[in-house]
Point group: C2
């Protein structure tokens, strides 16, 4: 039973700080009009809530007796922790009590529980994780950043359709420019899967503008860049590593006295802005697309602002009927959609 | 007929500056003891040489009547330009007149001519391009950065063996730490090819220390990181793009007056050092490994220093008998080598 205002289940136990960050973040989102179900250890949640003003806010609490550890194997979390805060939050979506899940818990477990508990949208073979990368201009959605490996061409094309809707309904881009990550801009460059995906995307209804190269992601000339989850995860972590290495380089020069303190402080200021360029937590988290309810996977180190932003993203996604738009676009691209391929086989 | 000093064929016409950079670079390398054959338009080369002191230097000239354009398709260059400077240089290696090739010309054409004209080392299925990435500590070889796509597990393992020798014989690392690029450090993480390659590498004679993640490349904890050429090329270009975006960000802040000029100049100094972190031309070029003669693929914008360094790398590679060491290591790892797999099939 869905309320008019999208209702978001927040994993109160997830992340490095648990209820101490998730509860205040949920309160802030509720103050901005969100409808929230906090899921986790009720005593701890009530304790956090007791310190804040909650009058008039749409906040509910659902108890979950277990917590998934950050190092636990996702398959174990799925099988053995049926009453974990992540599982219970996903079950609320499955049962229609909530429209989406926000969790800063064990990413692998969140993805696994989302996939197996909530279930897929009709027409989608594999859900995908969308990294929202800030660029020199407006943000660029890199999809998939690690939910899948060994993707086939129609998987990539499905990712493109989902991210296209995300760009329109959440980032407010009217006609997203969609690129396919490859190793050359010309058609015919890439590996066998990319070449096949190129053909599918060219024939699709989305605004596919061709191959993108690694250097294009941060330049801001694409709103969506599509790739296999192995490649996307390497790209995401490489970007984080490069930013960190540059920080270490600057700090090293300060120690060696090669830069004045003033110069270094100014550089570090620019570095902070740069680090945000590659820190998708700044946008609240990475949406897992393709399930019958939005799941936002947040960084374990998320602060109140990041979780609040993630809740807002989940609410906007639902309020703007993004799932219905994905289903509509899949129907319009039957060669890409799962049911299109099935009926093709059957005929 | 090989001379005692390794003899390197330099593509005088390659790159954005042609003989104007390649000839002085060859002279500088010859002054340091290299033996050189300059390949290209003889009149232009002699004209450049006439302006320099060449007495006592081991420099020869071989005429080639054609030049491959930077935008030409490699397959066209291979088929239609039999007398291009790139082709003639490769033919000199095939005929035993030279030990290696250095070219800043059309990268795709250099790779294609190397593969088809020079021929592979016994036991190697596919040559691979080794990007030498400076890190916070010592350089890291990323292999393959774009010679191949759709690599199989034994290809990745062959890349590892070749890069291991490069690290030892050229970079002087006694026991290189070799990693496999994946999306998690634990064994069992990655796509199907990576998982299979993990097993091959674990059983091999090289010092395989496990999976590396994207963030590890620039941290300097690996001497060799192995990946498919699609992933490696995306990683290389992403790194270049990220460095450029950071530069643009700093320049933008200078314009907006957010940084003092002093601070920005100091930051830009640090940025230049940072850009070198991701500019493999600083190391002279990317060696194409697996052929019966070393080929160094240089950036089109290479300056005299870069070409000189590339010639030195080619000479060191040959002088230290790296090819023989690759063959020796392939024999010691018959499960990985081409002949190992062939005899296994035959039995």
């Amino acid at each position: 039973m869905l309320s008019k205002t999208p209702r978001i289940a927040v994993d109160a136990m997830g992340g490095d700080f648990g209820p101490r960050v998730n509860v205040p973040a949920a309160l802030r989102a509720a103050e901005q009009g969100a409808s929230i179900i906090l899921v986790g250890d009720e005593a701890q949640i009530r304790d956090e809530l007791s310190r804040c003003k909650t009058e008039g806010l749409d906040i509910h609490v659902v108890h979950a007796s277990q917590v998934v550890g950050m190092d636990e194997k996702p398959s174990d979390a799925l099988r053995r922790k049926k009453d974990s805060s992540i599982q219970v939050a996903c079950r609320l979506v499955k049962e229609g009590q909530a429209d989406g899940v926000v969790s800063a818990g064990n990413s692998g477990a969140v993805v696994a529980c989302g996939m197996f508990t909530i279930g897929r949208i009709a027409g989608i073979d594999r859900p995908a994780l969308a990294g929202i990368m800030p660029t020199e201009k407006r943000p660029c959605i890199l999809i998939d950043v690690g939910a899948n490996v060994d993707s086939k061409a129609f998987h990539l094309a499905q990712f493109a359709i989902m991210a296209d809707v995300l760009a329109r309904d959440v980032l407010g881009v009217p006609k997203p420019r969609v690129g396919l990550l490859s190793i050359g801009e010309e058609e015919g460059k890439g590996n066998s899967v990319v070449k096949e995906a190129f053909d599918l995307l060219r024939k699709s209804s989305i605004n596919f503008i061709g191959n993108a190269e690694g250097r294009d992601i941060f330049a801001g000339n694409y709103d969506v860049v599509v790739c296999d989850g192995f490649v996307g995860n390497v790209a995401l972590k490489l970007s984080e590593g490069l930013a960190r290495s540059f920080g270490n380089l600057l700090k090293g020069e300060l120690k060696r006295g090669l830069l004045s303190k003033l110069g270094t402080l100014l550089s570090l200021g620019a570095l902070t802005r740069f680090a945000k360029l590659v820190d998708y937590a700044e946008y609240g988290g990475a949406p897992l697309l393709g399930l019958k309810g939005i799941v936002i996977v947040c960084h374990g180190a998320s602060n109140v602002k990041a979780i609040t932003n993630a809740i807002r993203m989940a609410s906007t996604f639902t309020a703007n009927r993004a799932h219905q738009h994905i289903e509509r676009d899949l129907e319009a691209n039957s060669e890409i959609a799962r049911f299109g391929r099935q009926s093709a086989k059957a005929s």
